[in-house]
Amino acid sequence: MLEIKNLHARIAEDGTEIIRGLNLTVKDGEVAAIMGPNGSGKSTLSYILAGREDYEVTEGDILYNGESILELDPSERAAKGIFLAFQYPVEIPGVATMQFLKVGMNEQRKARGEDELTTPDFMRRVKEAAAELQISPEMLRRPLNVGFSGGEKKRAEILQMALLEPKLCVLDETDSGLDIDALKIVADGVNALRAPDRSVIVITHYQRLLDYIVPDTVHVLYKGQVIKSGDKTLAHELEANGYADIIGAAA
């Protein structure tokens, strides 16, 4: 599904290098957790995967299903099935949530050469997915993310993910700012999407989310590199001992 090879990347504006030789492989159907202390490059990695132009890749490559995606803009990557659930979903006053969902779904379908959805079909899909995530019709009538609580924004991200049916889902600290009930709803939403042909990268600070979305692999990111990889027990180890031991061993 995804192969990141010796990736180096920096902030375009000031040249600060954030990712320094990162290697990571995620197989079809795999749920990979990426953990690491603040400033290790976790969010940057998620933005680079989605194609944010504020970052510049200086070395290495990102292969998605065997093809480099570095030259693709964010909308082209999205059409190929890459989805980023934002840590801070963006408020856009004046864009209705429903309109946004419809445009997003149809533009992706168009890019893949598929027919646009009919309005009844679109409405039915949104209604079903929203109900699963306990998103009220009233919320869908508001402008995109405007006036949503932190939990509502995160649920709206998962709603978009469910509707867009991506192949590679990147969840950037989707657990931040969620109470335990909201966390369960979001985790159930993600688990419902687990499939043999769909991979998930879960970026998180805490073990807590991984109790609900159980990963196949866990990778520790530090100073822009993966310094240790393991199975789900690695997350428990980190929870018990912190990052210091692993960082010490890698240094």
Binding site: P74, S75, E107
Partner: protein, 424 residues
């Protein structure tokens, strides 16, 4: 009609004088009307078109911007068009000639030309002040328009569209409008051009809202790329009257829309919302004054500008609060989205306050497309050009959505996205 020695008229000024001399014999009016016209024209000739040295015209130097004046055309053809909101009651002025028709109960419309002929309109043919060049040109040349009266307590299911369709040449119209006490209505004042050659359009709307009247008035101007549009909207609000005024500019080469409002009755409220969609080489100026003359009145003004290409825009907004007008609450903001390096916008908000217990404020911003929002839309699969268009649309649609009538919102959003499709 001698030209004073030493004053040299510009080509446009000379053309106006010449055009007046040529038309005066056929302009409707009695003796008093003719005297009023002559006075306005003579003042126009003496003062000339305003330059940037005239404060009210500082950002729109009409003397240099108005290069030519098209001739008055006899017999240019035009036809009324479908209203913006389907099912509206349409009143039309086609190439400057008003057409009256049977209207729903509670509203009447009479030809302004008749009022000029019988002399009853003569008193209205005066300039607001020494800088009122629109009043002068319009008052000198006006041929027709509609006198609209809405009865006390009247209310209507459908909007009323007053449609002015121009096909080149000169068009000068007036619209005196009266709303009786407690009347409720939504009116769309629409100016559009069908010809490709230049038109000079002047239009003056003069409105009175009696006590408790509630009116939504939408001015939508979509003249052609060669046209000059000089318009004035004046309104006086009685006690507890509410005027919601939307001004949408989406066309014209040289546009000046003046808005002068007196919130004159206690409890009266003005909501002004402006949308300027500017592209090409357009120069568009919205100049606004509001006078809070009595205690306990409110006004809010929000202007949103979208500027592409080499277009230039101007917003001058002045809130004036009289000494007695305590407890006035007035807030004005002007936000501009500049979308090209050559685009330009000048904002001049002003407060002039003589009362000491008021809440007044203003703010102005100039921004580019928000890159985080753009990335977010693209990350969901929306291609860049479409994502940009969505964001520009959102910037102005936010204002339109304040109108609670869904049909109206949909119609205006359609107008905006049509414009964006053409220019963005």
């Amino acid at each position: 009609m001698n030209i004073q020695a030493g004053i040299k008229l510009t080509a446009a000024e000379a053309a106006l004088v010449e055009s007046y001399n040529e038309q005066v014999g056929e302009l409707p009016g009695d003796g008093n009307t003719l005297v009023a016209r002559d006075t306005l024209l003579s003042d126009l000739k003496t003062a000339g078109l305003p330059t940037r040295r005239v404060e009210a015209w500082h950002y729109t130097d009409l003397k240099s911007l108005l290069k030519t004046v098209p001739a008055f055309l006899r017999g240019a053809s035009a036809q009324r068009v479908e209203p913006i909101v389907p099912g509206s009651t349409v009143l039309s002025v086609v190439n400057g000639k008003a057409h009256t028709r049977v209207l729903p109960e509670g509203i009447t419309a009479k030809s302004y030309a008749d009022a000029l002929l019988d002399g009853s309109a003569a008193d209205g043919l005066v300039a607001r002040d020494a800088d009122d060049v629109i009043g002068r040109i319009n008052g000198s040349f006006v041929r027709d328009g509609l006198i609209v009266e809405v009865a006390e307590g009247a209310a209507f299911e459908a909007p009323i569209e007053i449609q002015s369709v121009q096909n080149c040449g000169q068009v000068n119209t007036r619209f005196p409008v009266r709303f009786g006490a407690g009347a409720k209505a939504t009116v769309i004042e629409r100016h559009l051009a069908i010809g490709e050659d230049a038109a000079l359009v002047t239009s003056v709307t003069d409105m009175r809202l009696a006590d408790d009247a509630e009116v939504t008035w939408i001015i939508f101007q979509s003249e052609g790329d060669a046209d000059t549009h000089l318009a004035q909207f004046k309104a006086e609000l009685g006690a507890n009257a509410k005027l919601r005024l939307y001004v949408i500019n989406g066309g014209g080469k040289l546009v000046r829309q003046e808005i002068h409002i007196a919130v004159a009755g206690e409890g009266s409220d003005l909501t002004l919302r402006g949308i300027n969609l500017l592209g090409g080489e357009s120069h568009t100026d919205v100049t606004f004054t509001v006078d809070h003359n009595v205690p306990h009145t409110t006004s809010t003004e929000v202007i949103r500008n979208v500027v592409f290409d080499r277009a230039r825009g101007v917003f001058q907004g002045q809130i004036r609060v009289a000494q007695d007008a305590q407890k006035t609450d007035a807030k004005m903001s002007c936000n501009t989205l500049l979308l090209s390096d050559d685009a330009e916008f000048s904002a001049k908000p002003e407060l002039e306050i003589f009362a000491d217990d008021v809440q007044c404020g203003h703010g102005a911003t100039v921004i580019d497309i928000d890159h985080t929002q753009l990335f977010y839309l693209m990350a969901r699969g929306v291609p860049e050009n479409k994502a940009r268009a969505m964001l520009v649309n959102a910037f102005v649609a936010e204002i339109v959505e304040e109108l609670d009538d869904e049909t109206l919102v949909e119609a205006l959003e359609g107008v905006i996205s049509d414009w964006l499709e053409k220019y963005a």
